[in-house]
């Protein structure tokens, strides 16, 4: 019996590691430990073993059974591992590119607008929106631009036909025409009429000019305008805002300066120059970047604010111009062509 058991174990140790497939394994398992298996057959001989030898033989059989089972387990896990490996295939090449779609990109004008509004948010300016189709009152009259002002010419401003009717752009006076806003300052008027001071808003948006499109002009472009109305707002506060904005945007070495200018809706009015020679493609000591000034008392009167109590400033600039400066882009038309090779560069 002992010899038979040893022979059986030796056979199992030799055969099991060589098994390649699960059916082979199952067949081998049946051959050794199945109901008609060889171990089972040996165990059946227990009845013929003399009584006094039974404990010793029983022990031998149990040991053989345990050993055999461990051979089987080993063989099974080896097969399982092989099966898993077969299912996974060969090791991946981690250097292959992912065939899945990469994220898209934000338009550079969005990036610049968001950066500006984020900077302004930190000092309390919230973003407001206004209609792009405006009326003469909001775009001109309320901003102290008289009816015979050249900016209102059909030569410079897009108008809608007299028959045009808009359900959600309110007219102040029945006779006034609809037009495409020439600046975002109209949003100032709507905001002031709707709310009460103090006010601190930024209004980015599309504006329209009847202009020939070339490398620096576009029939529609984007502006960003800030308005602050409170008590005791001064020219010095306005300068502090501009210094803050451009130091935040372009770095501490950036300087701003004011030059006197004229806008109908601010008094005094200034143009803002920027010194940012560290930027790419900036080869002038000062670059004009926007216009600003103290809100003219006439504008306050028109929206029903007492100019003896309230004061404020406004600042406006072109977003394309800023983006061109920031990124070193030399043609405004690229913003409107949407060549993906252009769009991918900014995200």
């Amino acid at each position: 019996m002992q010899d038979q058991l040893a022979a059986l174990l030796a056979k199992a140790a030799a055969e099991l590691p060589a098994l390649a497939t699960r059916p082979d394994f199952e067949a081998a398992k049946a051959r050794f430990v199945g109901p008609n298996g060889e171990l089972t057959a040996l165990m059946k001989q227990m009845g013929t073993v003399p009584k006094e030898q039974k404990p010793a033989v029983g022990k031998l059989i149990n040991e053989a059974k345990t050993t055999l089972q461990s051979h089987l387990d080993a063989a099974l896990s080896r097969l399982e591992a092989a099966e898993l490996a077969a299912r996974l295939g060969p090791a991946i090449d981690p250097t292959l590119p992912s065939p899945d779609r990469a994220p898209g990109t934000f338009h550079p004008l969005t990036l610049v607008r968001e950066e500006m509004t984020r900077i302004l948010r930190k000092v309390g300016f919230t973003v407001v929106e206004g209609p792009e189709v405006e009326t003469e009152y909001y775009c001109f009259d309320a901003l102290n631009t008289p009816a015979d002002h050249p900016a209102r010419d059909a030569q410079d401003t897009f108008y809608l036909p007299a028959s045009a009717r808009f359900g959600n752009v309110s007219k102040k006076t029945p006779g006034e025409r609809y037009l495409l806003r020439t600046h975002t300052s109209s949003v100032q008027i709507r905001t002031m009429l709707k709310g009460k001071p103090p006010i601190r808003i930024v209004s980015p948006g599309r504006v329209y000019r009847r202009d020939t499109t070339d490398a620096t002009h576009s029939a529609n472009f984007h502006q960003l305008e800030c308005l602050y109305v409170d008590k005791n707002v001064t020219v010095r506060d306005l300068k502090a805002l501009l210094d803050y904005i451009f130091a935040s945007l372009l770095g501490k070495e950036t300087k701003t300066r004011f030059r006197p200018h004229y806008f109908g809706y601010t008094e005094p009015s200034f143009e803002v120059d920027l010194s940012a020679t560290h930027l790419p493609k900036v080869n002038k000591p000062w670059i004009e970047i926007g216009g600003c000034g103290m809100v003219d008392p006439v504008v306050f009167q028109d929206v029903g604010y007492d100019p003896e109590i309230w004061s404020g400033y406004a600042f406006g600039m072109g977003l394309e111009r800023l983006a061109m400066l920031l990124y070193g882009i030399d043609d405004i038309r690229y913003f409107y062509q949407n060549d993906v090779r252009f769009l991918r560069q900014f995200a």
């Binding site: 292959l96 898209g104 919230t126 973003v127 045009a164 006197p260 004229y262």
Partner: protein
């Protein structure tokens, strides 16, 4: 406007100031300097006229000569100078740069030895003096100038021309005198007015009623004041050189001594003037009147123009001779044979000049100034100056008194301001005396000074007539800060008192759309709002296209407001394809204009396009996009505006919708109720016409701008069951045309009804759509997974089976065929 430095010098002494500093001053006075041009010879120090006395060959050099040159007693008399020029012959008068002179290019002249021969200066060519680009030999001076005469005295004087932009509020600066006044204030210099010698009292000769008997104004509003002066016996000829040079420097072609005088006065005072040939005026009366419809005038530029009724003209007895303030007629103008003149200096209402200029499409230096505002109270002074110049340069005599018709009350304006007010507006301190000096330098005169209780002195300034833009105390703040120097406005740390607010909901909508779609691989685009009519027609119901047209488009392909963003995105897709750039997913957010109940509404919109083929080749292809891809992204857009698209009635897009492929695009919502969404396949013929290859899906969402709202309130928490679920699958065979959503609704309705009070249907999900073997023709099989769950226990098979059997029975009873 162009300004001549030498001309400005007449009114303010800037001889010690560099052109750069003048340019800078103009800039910080508030006038943009567009260009600075230096003309004529530079200023030469120690370069004088010399006369060559002798010439001998240099002993040590073949090509050099040794000359003795007389440079005048002040410069040492006769000097010996070595020269290499071929024309340094005795008797020639040439420029000599003396030791110490610095020639252009920082070339310093010294006492020197040239090949062993002492040389005391240098004789110069035109090129060495930068007077010409090229030169053969020495510059020979004509007229035998006395040795020692400074070279500059022999050359036409140089000048610096500043081309500057005058802001519309400052018509007073549209003249040399006006800008000189500003510069005088800036540099703290005195302003010197032109010396006008004419006085009306000095007129001695008799009137000539045969030439001009009277002036009649039939349009007093448009012409409040008209003056006309008769000058007889003038001799037309060229103006003096200095005057011609000044006009030429600022871009005006000198014509003759009369026309030039008029232009000179305009550029000096800013007051346009006009001269008629008296002989060519019909009758003896000048009439200022509105034109009659169809009257004709041939203006000085040689064009015949038909006048519209009401345009202001100056007319003689028969015809218009000037479009008032704009341009005179060629016929009545001054010519070489003119001997008698009528000089017009008048005040026209700016709107009248502007209307005429605009109507005729004709602008002039005169109309430009009238439109912006000419100081009527300086009119007489300019008129007198005009007469002075005519008499001085063209001769003649004034015949009779000046005809002066109309007039207005004397100019009077005062503004009272305190230094405290100015400092409060500025936010920094400027000493009161400096403020006062600044304002006085602009000829604002303190007429009263009164102490106030707490705010220092209150100054009352009288405002000069040419500063109509100064009307309120705040206007004086600007004058003070301007002359103080805007560069000196101090920097400070921004203060931001807390103001609580949030960005507009529209801003948040756009941001969320961009974030969501960028995350899905879309590139954000920006397209023009103005689109060509043909494109708008593809995305707008035909009856609504006309309403989107502009009254005055600038170019044909930007004639209409957009009603959709898809047209622009397809154009971007086409551009990328044509450039061989892979672009399959693009989106845009922005305003569109949609018709609601017969009116346009400005709407907030977002749209995307996605090409079925990405255009990118890949080593492992992914599944191509289809209608349902578009539907998913369309649902995202709607969801970001708070609308659950899946719960909204959705139908195929109804014709006519030329942009969409019939049967492959769907729409939900209705802009009349506030929002609309359309998504699906772009019409294949339209794509082909655009030149786009492959299928393109698109989605569009628009919402009326005022309906974009801030985030809704937080939703409450609903408890959910932790018990196991029971699943049952159910397939129904329905006619192919039955919308899936109807079947799903029926299944959900009956499943919900079939469960008892103690458990519930949790979800119904479509997991298979099948046609083919086993399903009758023109039918389809829809298979749903039903999930049941109780809140408090594990469901038993029995109770689920009972419910499921009832669901099937009820559906069968409702006319559905269960697929076994």
């Amino acid at each position: 406007m162009k300004l001549s430095r030498s001309w400005l010098q007449d009114y303010v002494d800037l001889s010690e100031v560099t052109a750069d500093d003048i340019s800078r001053a103009i800039t910080f006075l508030g006038f943009e300097v567009e260009q600075v041009v230096h003309t004529g010879a530079p200023h030469f120090e120690l370069v004088v006229a010399g006369r060559i006395l002798t010439r001998e060959k240099h002993p040590n050099a073949d090509k050099l000569s040794v000359c003795t040159v007389d440079v005048g007693p002040a410069h040492g008399g006769v000097r010996t100078i070595v020269c290499g020029a071929p024309n340094c012959d005795a008797g020639n008068h040439v420029p000599v740069a003396l030791p110490g002179a610095v020639l252009p290019g920082d070339f310093v002249i010294k006492e020197a030895k040239v090949r062993g021969q002492a040389s005391s200066g240098m004789m110069c060519s035109a090129k060495e003096l930068t007077l010409a680009d090229d030169a053969q030999g020495l510059l020979l001076l004509n007229g035998e100038p006395a040795p020692g005469t400074p070279l500059n005295a022999l050359l036409p004087p140089g000048d610096v021309v500043f081309d500057i932009e005058i802001t519309p509020n400052r018509p007073d600066a549209l003249s040399h005198l006006g800008v000189a006044r500003e510069l005088a204030a800036w540099f703290g210099k005195e302003l010197r007015y032109p010396a006008v010698s004419f006085t009306p009292a000095a007129i001695s000769s008799d009137p000539r009623p045969d030439l001009l008997a009277s002036v009649r104004i039939l349009a007093e509003t448009d012409c409040p004041l008209y003056t006309a002066t008769v000058v007889t016996g003038v001799k037309i000829g060229p103006s003096p050189d200095w005057l011609q040079r000044r006009l030429a420097a600022v871009g005006l072609r000198p014509i003759n001594n009369v026309v030039d005088a008029g232009n000179y006065v305009m550029l000096e005072y800013g007051q346009p003037v006009h001269a008629f040939d008296a002989a060519r005026l019909a009758g003896a009366e000048i009439i200022v009147r509105p034109a009659a419809e169809g009257e004709k005038i041939t203006t000085l530029d040689g064009k015949e123009r038909a006048l519209a009724a009401g345009l202001l003209v100056i007319a003689d007895a028969q015809k218009p001779v000037v479009v008032a303030g704009v341009m005179g007629s060629a016929e009545a103008g001054v010519s070489a044979t003119t001997t008698d003149l009528v000089l017009e200096v008048a005040c026209f209402r700016r709107q009248a000049v502007r209307a005429a200029s605009k109507r005729l499409g004709l602008a002039s230096d005169s109309s430009y100034r009238y439109e912006r505002g000419v100081d009527a109270h300086s009119l007489d002074e300019a008129a007198h100056r005009f007469i002075d110049l005519i008499l001085a340069h063209a001769g003649g005599a004034i015949a009779g008194p000046i005809h002066r018709v109309g007039g207005f009350a004397p100019w009077e304006r005062e503004i009272t301001v305190t230094p405290a007010f100015i400092n409060e507006k500025l936010g920094f301190e400027i000493p009161a005396e400096k403020m006062r000096a600044a304002l006085e330098s602009l000829e604002l005169v303190v007429t009263r000074e009164e102490p106030t209780e707490a705010r220092g002195p209150a100054w009352t300034f009288s405002i000069p007539s040419w500063r109509d833009d100064l009307d309120r105390p705040i206007d004086l703040v600007e004058e003070v800060v301007r002359l103080h120097g805007t560069e000196k406005i101090p920097s400070s740390v921004i203060t931001a008192p807390g103001l609580v607010g949030d960005d507009d909901p529209i801003v948040w909508f756009n941001r969320r759309v961009a974030a969501a779609l960028v995350g899905q691989g879309f590139h954000e685009c920006v397209n023009y709002t103005l689109r060509p009519a043909a494109e708008v027609a593809a995305w707008t119901p035909p009856a609504q296209v006309a309403a989107l047209a502009l009254a005055n488009p600038f170019v044909e392909d930007q004639s209409h407001l957009r009603s959709s963003l898809i047209g622009g995105l397809l154009e971007s897709l086409r551009l990328n394809q044509s450039r061989g750039v892979a672009a399959s997913r693009l989106f845009e957010t922005g305003r569109v204009f949609l018709e609601r109940d017969g009116q346009l509404s400005e709407c907030v919109a977002a749209a995307f396009v996605l090409a079925e083929e990405t255009g990118e080749r890949s080593w492992r292809p992914r599944e191509a996009a289809d209608f349902y891809t578009a539907k998913r992204h369309a649902a995202t857009l709607a969801a970001l505006a708070g609308i659950e698209l899946e719960r909204q009635p959705t139908a195929l897009v109804a014709a006519p919708a030329p942009g969409w492929q019939t049967g492959h695009a769907a729409t939900a919502g209705d802009i009349r109720h506030g929002w609309t969404s359309t998504f699906g396949l772009v019409d294949l013929a339209h794509l082909k016409a655009l030149g786009i290859t492959g299928k393109v899906y698109a989605g569009f969402f628009a919402i009326v701008s005022e309906k974009v709202t801030a985030d809704s309130d937080r939703r409450g928490y609903k408890p959910f069951s932790l018990q196991p679920a029971a699943l049952r699958d159910l397939a129904l065979v329905v006619p192919a045309a039955t919308p899936a959503v109807e079947v799903q609704k029926a299944v959900a309705k009956h499943a919900r009804a079939a469960t008892g009070p103690t458990f519930a249907l949790e979800s119904v999900e479509l997991f298979d759509l099948y046609t083919g073997k086993g399903v009758p023709e023109n039918h389809k099989s829809l298979a749903y997974a039903l999930t049941f769950r109780a809140s408090d226990r594990t469901l038993t098979d029995d109770e689920v089976n009972t419910a499921f059997t009832k669901v099937q029975a009820d559906l069968t009873a409702a006319g559905f065929q269960i697929r076994k």
